[in-house]
Symmetry: none
Subunit: 521 residues, 2 copies
Amino acid sequence: MSTIEIYDTTLRDGAQGEGISFSVEDKVKIALRLDKLGVHYIEGGWPGSNPKDSDFFKRIKDFPLEKAVVSAFGSTRKPNSDVKEDVNLKAIVDAGVQVACIFGKTWDFQVVYALNTTLEENLQMIKESVAYLKSNGMQVFYDAEHFFDGCKANTEYALETVKAAQAGGADRIVLCDTNGGTMPWDIQEIVSKVKSVVTVPLGIHCHNDSEMAAANSVIAVQSGVIQVQGTMNGYGERCGNANLCSVIPNLEIKCGLKCLPEGNLAQLTEVSRFVSEVANMHLHNGQPFVGTSAFAHKGGIHVSAIMKNSKTYEHITPELVGNQRRVLVSDQSGLSNLLYKFKELNVDLTQQTEENKQLLMHIKELENQGYQFEGADGSFELLMRRISGQYENPFKLESLRVIMDMKENGPTSTEATIKIWVGDQVKHTAAEGNGPVNALDNALRKSLEGFYPAIKEMQLNDYKVRVLNEKEGTDAVVRVSIETGDGKNSWGTIGVSTNIMEASWQALVDSLAYGLLKQND
Amino acid sequence: MSTIEIYDTTLRDGAQGEGISFSVEDKVKIALRLDKLGVHYIEGGWPGSNPKDSDFFKRIKDFPLEKAVVSAFGSTRKPNSDVKEDVNLKAIVDAGVQVACIFGKTWDFQVVYALNTTLEENLQMIKESVAYLKSNGMQVFYDAEHFFDGCKANTEYALETVKAAQAGGADRIVLCDTNGGTMPWDIQEIVSKVKSVVTVPLGIHCHNDSEMAAANSVIAVQSGVIQVQGTMNGYGERCGNANLCSVIPNLEIKCGLKCLPEGNLAQLTEVSRFVSEVANMHLHNGQPFVGTSAFAHKGGIHVSAIMKNSKTYEHITPELVGNQRRVLVSDQSGLSNLLYKFKELNVDLTQQTEENKQLLMHIKELENQGYQFEGADGSFELLMRRISGQYENPFKLESLRVIMDMKENGPTSTEATIKIWVGDQVKHTAAEGNGPVNALDNALRKSLEGFYPAIKEMQLNDYKVRVLNEKEGTDAVVRVSIETGDGKNSWGTIGVSTNIMEASWQALVDSLAYGLLKQND
């Protein structure tokens, strides 16, 4: 079975999507998850373009990756200059990674009008830049920007540019549909043309401006390319890049090719949702393969047919990509959804005990309200323990109040008062904060530290707010996710409410309660 | 120039999408808008399946359509029964429209296991049902369900079924990729095969489960079909149907074919957004051609190139589909992004005046604090106007207070009090809300509606919270983004603060202030 290389550029091209702004920590988290999924290459950023990307290349060295190779992006050298003096190329070498991916111009009009140089100089720029990086011991992938438009405008010159990359020693030549305007039949024809003039293995990099990126990528593979560049959930500038969450399963399931290590395709849905959470982007329900509606059946005729044989209205088995079937009109939906979670926590659900049934019912109801336990293992485990009766809360709220005052051009003050019981002792205290959630956090810690000194070790690492039914404006349901750590471990907790403060409170309470629970384990 | 028929099934197949529930009035509104756009056929519903759809066919008769022909959907008759007695087919005739579109089975396994009948009886069902509707004076389109899967399983039988439809007198034979699992090369091969055995003009009906629906539709046209079935914004069961908002511009602009009346393509963006409003579905920003990000440029290198020549990073001119170019201001943007924005707002920044320098410095500083003006055009324009001194705030805050009370197992109450000045009048009022932001929003509107009745038209469409330096936990800086609309336009505003309430307040104030500003423009 042939292998197709997956080159993920979520952290670079994906970050150019509107609304996406990754911190360095976000980037590290995503890179580690992509490595576990088993992509071949992770493009970390453009070290020459901004300090955040340079930071990432330093930080990621602290984490040994299992399989993925990190790549640094950049461009060919500037016109009429010494390649050894090029700041941009030097930054790539300094990134200290094994793979460089540099783009250069294909389209004659761009060379003349955007680069302001000659066609001949552009060829030199390509060849010398590739050769320079090769001489620094790197594997070099050459991204031929605007290749398809360039090839239609001036085929001969476009082919000269990829020959220049080959002459420089490029390890891959990646044909880019930079504007996303190319139709599938042109992809097919032009890939074949390139294959006839260079021997370097080819790659494809598509954008989705015509809604053709996924199709163009698989068609390019059919035409002979061996590397696909794209992003998780198709994030990227304008309409985004080729969506690897669609390309990978199409190549593996429909074309019988190998992209990920054996068995890893079933992680796809989880990875897609993880990346969308970190990016804080709403995941499109109807997203192929991984969306929550991707295997959701609503039409009555579909539902009854599905119950006889799932092949009637499902092109693949949802479990292949880690997704699940949902039956929207039936009360039978959703039980199997949670099986993998239970399995993870070693809860045997094959036994239809009263307790298990109660647990399932309760979880189903919470999910309807907007709870999502992916990434909230702390809250999930507490929930299970509460239902099973094996757990006692370390404290109990009596009441709380938050007051925020703001004056024009004056300071804002926020105060939280809180009254809790620990055993038979009551603690009534108050604290200020930077904002209401911070004030609550401070007051809660102040109340509990005397009883549970371990709380001093616990730190909130991450606090996220997600609006669920956004159309409702400020009346919407929000989900607050908190990540807490004690230096050794970290755990996630959540809260859901129409009131952001109430949701935050639930997540805060769980974060400390779970930390205390683990302390005693 | 050849014409390709556009058959819109938003009102039938689109309505099967998760989260979509059209009222009869919604359906009429959408049908009228689609007629104005100039599609050829509008599938109104399945009169045999539910009373709402039958109502639609009655209601739509009150409105003379300019161009579009309304079609009723249904299936072939039941096995082993008299076609004249079939309730389903009778309902189609009773709908009183000119076109019927009925589906029948192609796939041998489905005939046997889902229909529980013989292969031969299925052929009779197809032929007789088509003939029956023809004898009632209707144009008949035959939807060959699961055609591509069926053809792969048993080519000979699949071809027999479409021959049966031809024998019955079908006016179009529409090949359906019902499960959305077919790859483009199979579409190409199978369409050609069908063309060689029937003379009836062909259509295509794709689903998007493999993210191939748009590509498969244009490829089918390249292979000779003359009708494309799809939905606006790709709504539909599971991952949806072929998205006509992508298929139409691809066929017209990329393939040189005719779908809509001359000049009407420029309505596409408006129609897409209109349908999403009626469906109450969030429009995906990155949607090709019509999304708000479809021509949005963020990377600095892209923006400077775009300013030289838009063809560098745009596959088509946005105006062709009624969309517009946007330049985003973010931490990835260089000076060129700002320059473009200024030009858009008629601020001449080529002159290095003191004011311009101040503006740039101010924006850079705000960006360091965490402001991000992409998607926040409202706040950005207000900011520029404030700095240039050409703007007076419509109201001024004196003070506000938010109080939230929560008791164990009791209700949570949230109240906001607010004191503002409008001119020399002071307004001191209070309101409750679902949460603190909602309470503030309610109080602010209550204060202002007497002075500015236009505020009643403004609705919050979207509310998002992003924690910037997540490592700081609840002490972190948050960015609140709000999207507000007045039914015609929508605009984004933002606020940034360590205090989520303060950030929300800033964004709320800007959202109403900007709405009032545009009212007076």
